[in-house]
């Protein structure tokens, strides 16, 4: 009797990127019973930590500046049996030899999850100028916090979500704060021009100056930033400049790998990245979201967590692989108000179904054709997940409108201004 061929799965998993997606990847692999070697490679010196607080709680006066970590080193190393390679940027990938390069060293893998995230765009020419920061990492956040503690006159470049949270933190301390936005209306790409304008009103209502349609002509100062000159010639005095003009997926280390890269690692619906055993997750992954039948790359907490887990499950059990589909969801806190968005801002208009965009509460629904594709709420915590569920069920727009009529749009008596 000849020995039966036993088809074995991968015996080693390497995860590159030690933030939320990478962490959830190693957790999920163990949870489904993967017993092989797991290596988690990260470029930052810190254990995996949570990023949303960096632009929120961590900037508040007196708040601790320790990172919110999910698991201790002991839990990762001893309980989960993960080999941790922190402060160790991956420098290359050879998909044929199935090795990840770390400088001169190689780490072999059978299964690989790429979760290297994204890197914040900076302002060219400001390198080495003290007081100019992006906000992506714990170290960035601590620098911004120090400046706010010192009472910095603050200029935020870019009226996106993270920059707006920084402006909000600066105003909470009563600091002079200006947001400079290159486009005529903020947040157009995320929520459309009308509601972008509505959200931007939060800035002006809370004493932040908003300068739209302006770019930075020069950041002034020799060693330290002293001011920002705009294209119209205005000079704004500044001790702190926070640049929030988006992030670029971190794929530079994959340049020679032959992996398909197009604003992110290009994946199919199963998060497979185009070479045997390789998957991608989190901010770096551009995958086919079957729920909207389109290629997407999202920089959201919940997608990073879910993709990390799904990519790892698929990587260690490829025969049982499942596709990953989601209604993208993010939240942002400005001036004590909560903004939540789920889905995609459809191209065919939106309708306010509760509240008023000029006020401190509204719920807006987006459509594409006759389908409900998105929901944006300002202080509408009660509503957002209900519409998100409708979007996941591929509800028609008129069904959502009917639902809005029945779900009594009550205003909270406890809302404070």
């Amino acid at each position: 009797m000849s020995a039966a061929t036993v088809r074995t799965g991968p015996s080693s998993l390497v995860v590159v990127g030690a933030s939320l997606a990478g962490l959830r990847a190693v957790e999920a692999a163990r949870k489904v019973g993967f017993a092989g070697r797991i290596t988690l490679i990260g470029d930052e010196p810190h254990l995996p930590y949570d990023r949303p607080p960096l632009s929120k709680d961590l900037l508040a006066p007196g708040a601790p500046t320790d990172p919110v970590t999910f698991r201790s080193r002991t839990e990762l190393v001893d309980d989960l049996g993960v080999q941790l390679l922190l402060h160790t940027p991956a420098t290359g990938l050879d998909p044929h030899a199935q090795v990840v390069h770390i400088g001169g060293e190689e780490v072999a893998y059978d299964a690989l999850v790429v979760a290297t995230g994204a890197v914040a765009r900076g302002l060219p020419g400001t390198e080495g100028l003290a007081g100019v920061h992006v906000l992506r990492t714990l170290d960035d956040a601590r620098s911004v916090r120090r400046a706010l503690d010192e009472g910095a006159r603050t200029v935020v470049v870019g009226a996106g979500f993270i920059g707006s949270e920084v402006a909000s933190a600066a105003r909470k301390r009563g600091l002079p704060t200006t947001v400079v936005e290159a486009l005529p209306t903020p947040l157009t790409r995320s929520v459309g021009p009308d509601l972008g304008t509505a959200l931007a009103l939060l800035h002006t209502r809370n004493g932040t100056a908003l300068r739209c349609g302006q770019t930075v002509a020069a950041v002034q100062g020799t060693d330290r930033v002293e001011g920002v000159r705009l294209t119209d010639g205005t000079v704004i005095d500044a001790d702190l400049v926070v640049v929030g003009i988006g992030a670029v997926p971190r794929t530079d280390w994959l340049a020679d790998s032959g992996l398909p890269v197009d604003d992110g690692v290009v994946c199919d619906a199963f998060l497979r990245a185009g070479a045997p055993g390789i998957y991608a997750a989190g901010d770096v992954a551009r995958w086919h979201n079957v729920l909207f039948d389109r290629s997407m790359r999202v920089e959201h907490w919940s997608a990073a967590a879910e993709q990390g887990a799904q990519a790892a499950r698929n990587a260690v059990s490829p025969a049982a692989a499942q596709f990953y589909a989601t209604v993208p969801y993010f939240w942002s806190d400005w001036y004590g108000s909560r903004i939540q968005f789920a889905g995609v801002a459809g191209n065919d208009g939106c309708e306010i179904v509760s509240g008023d965009p000029a006020d401190d509460h509204f719920v807006a629904l987006y459509r594409e054709g006759d389908r409900l594709t998105g929901v944006l709420t300002l202080n509408g915590q009660r509503y957002v997940m209900k519409y998100r569920r409708l979007i996941a069920q591929r509800a028609r727009f008129d069904e959502a409108i009917a639902f809005a009529r029945t779900s009594a749009p009550t205003r909270s008596a406890a809302t404070t201004s």
């Binding site: 949303p52 967590a305 909560r338 009660r382 997940m385 909270s412």
Partner: protein, 63 residues
């Protein structure tokens, strides 16, 4: 199994409501309401996912 919520940690992000809508609901004030502290037999999986998926680690299960 019982759901224990740490109200000091919860900020009403709503991931739990997305995963287990019959058990969790965020109210008008952005506060989480646990609709059923005792986890029903048929909702154990989704509640476990919700507890593990909480971005602020505000939920835990107590047997």
């Amino acid at each position: 199994m019982k759901i224990v919520m740490d109200r000091a940690k919860c900020t009403g992000i709503g991931i739990c409501e997305a995963l287990a809508p019959t058990i969790f609901e965020v109210d008008d004030n952005g506060e989480l309401v646990v609709l059923s502290a005792e986890v029903p037999e048929d909702a154990q999986n989704e509640v476990t996912e919700a507890v593990e998926g909480c971005p602020t680690m505000a939920l835990r299960l107590q047997s």
